[in-house]
Symmetry: C2
DNA sequence: CTGTTAGCGCATTCAC
DNA sequence: GTGAATGCGCTAACAG
């Protein structure tokens, strides 16, 4: 059994109030007593019981964070940033992996509530806003990341996916592509709509038709990306370029291209909606929409801490702008084929 | 303020003992009262306060997990597996990212102890075993992953890195390489020694000299991998093959090769100590030592749950065998150069 | 300056 | 079958 504050008090021959005072610096204690307390702490290898402290303080100093998929490097990086920012503020992170499942999201929100976390950062999975709305409306500090809810208002930090996608498609067009496929995300999701919207905008800007056949939904997994790519490639007039929804989907798309012995990037060029340093090392070159991961993480954390301090303030939405990361092609211009098609 | 069990009791016109009984199924309650309680719970949107429950139960149903780097896909995957396995057993995961820093490890172990987690899974960072040893010796359920401690005994699930490395080097030799560089991990670490040992074993088996110049330490980051590779390539007789310590280091090595316009894999072949599905999609082909991630995660979880149930049982060590994942080269045998060197 | 006491929300003895 | 009372370990208000 771990020793308690009472054990320390007994051993030091003082009251528990004195021990507590020393430990928290919340009360003046004479140097002599203070030393005796610290000695007892050391001898007993005492550590404060945060559970008891949390109960009495009505605050756990813990923040819950929910992400769709921790093995997606994009999410992993956001978590890493947030975790560091939170540490500075004296909070501990309780992480939940939603595995892209709405049920998991409901389950975790329930757990976080029961655990009495002081705040929640969530990269929403579409399909189950109800639980979350209840939480927000009951004054629980919640900051949404990436995806906006449709049924209520809340603090939000997101990337402008319309612009990001538009820029990507425009870039592909500037490289001569005219048939451009897109894997926006799962079907019924407003988030996917933004990307489709950006895709349409770009095409319209060049007077190209926006053929819905070139939209193939994915689920952010390698398999999903592969499947979506297969659909696109099976079209009568397959696209010469594909914009994948995240890094996993890029892997899936490239795998299919390899299996079909389609030359990359000559015959089909691939772009990614998430950047990764991996793309700097391997072939083929894959340009990307570079999400401002660091800003996402730090802004979300700051927003949350601010809301914890002032629960009444009006909700704030921060929209961050992504930038293209263009990866140039090998010295020998293999891309003549695509360019000639323009 | 969230409602408490007292609010529910008042509203249902019963005692708190009855409410508790209904909520936990720990006591017979007449159907009529039971229904009244459940109705009150619903109306108040009541959720049990886990903090209070944990205090009284002396158990939080939380497991702490510490990993060196959450953005390393290998660790991210282990976390994902563990998190799923733990959920089945009714535990929640408290995650800590050590960022490869011993100080962070000490800090987190302290936090986990204070938070009264029921158990700890840790992928140790070298350099600070003291804190951990104290925990293990004070009967706290701890399972170590990946890396074995030197100063004490504990439950452990690890991969056989000696064998893994030996197999990798042997594979490279079978492909004709005679000068094989290795990036084992940070310098003073026993973990790195295993890999160096495997490297030596393989070379000795073929009667090749083991020149220490071909050992270049890394720190598991992209930058570290790039730096280590630069050192190797600056040698008078640079290696024709390099085994990197994890996926990040592979990225760093390949980046350097690209910068130096060294042909991959013709002039220098790269292997990885961690597999990744990414390697199936990109060029150049990179064979790897495939760590049994799933087994690592599930075994560690089972070991921990068993220790929680029987704190007194003798420590158990599970050593898992990695397997090679060979990636074949493009149809046109570009690798003649390397093979000819044999 | 320091000790005593109440209560955070809950589960769990006891009595009835 | 159900209710009242105790204590988990801690902090903070109140005495002295």
């Amino acid at each position: 059994m771990a020793s308690t504050i009472i054990d320390v008090a007994k051993r030091a021959g003082v009251s528990i109030a004195t021990v507590s005072g020393v430990l928290n610096g919340s009360r003046y204690v004479s140097p002599e007593l203070r030393e005796r307390v610290l000695a007892a702490v050391r001898e007993l290898d005492y550590t404060v019981n945060q559970v008891a402290r949390s109960l009495q303080a009505r605050s756990t100093r813990m923040i819950g964070m929910l992400v769709p998929d921790i093995s997606d490097p994009f999410h992993a990086n956001v978590v890493r940033i947030v975790e560091t920012a939170l540490k500075t503020a004296g909070y501990t992170l309780l992480l939940g992996n939603l595995r892209d499942r709405p049920e998991e999201q409901a389950r975790y929100l329930h757990i976080l509530r029961a655990q009495q976390v002081d705040g929640i950062l969530i990269y929403m999975v579409p399909g189950c806003e109800e639980e979350l709305r209840k939480l927000v409306e009951s004054w629980k500090p919640v900051v949404l990341m990436g995806r906006a809810p449709t049924t209520f208002q809340a603090d939000l930090v997101a990337t402008d996916h319309v612009t990001g996608t538009r820029l990507a498609i425009e870039h592909l067009m500037s490289r001569g592509h005219r048939r451009i496929g897109i894997i926006p995300g799962p079907e019924p999701q407003p988030f996917s709509r933004s990307r489709i919207h950006g895709w349409r905008q770009a095409l319209a800007g060049s007077g190209l038709p926006a053929d819905d056949h070139y939209i193939s939904y994915g689920d952010y997994t390698i398999e999903g990306g592969a499947l979506a790519a297969s659909h696109l490639l099976d079209l009568r007039e397959p696209p010469t370029a594909i914009l994948a929804g995240n890094f996993h989907e890029v892997v899936g798309v490239l795998r299919v291209l390899r299996q079909r012995r389609i030359k990359r990037p000559d015959q089909v060029e691939v772009m990614s909606s998430h950047d990764s340093e991996v793309l700097d090392a391997f072939d083929p070159p894959v340009s990307s929409v570079d999400q401002p991961v660091r800003e996402l993480g730090t802004n979300a954390t700051e927003l949350l801490l601010r809301r914890i301090r002032q629960p009444g303030r009006p909700p704030e939405q921060i929209l961050l702008q992504p930038r293209l990361k263009i990866r140039s092609f090998p010295a020998s211009p293999l891309n003549i084929g695509a360019a000639a098609e323009a």
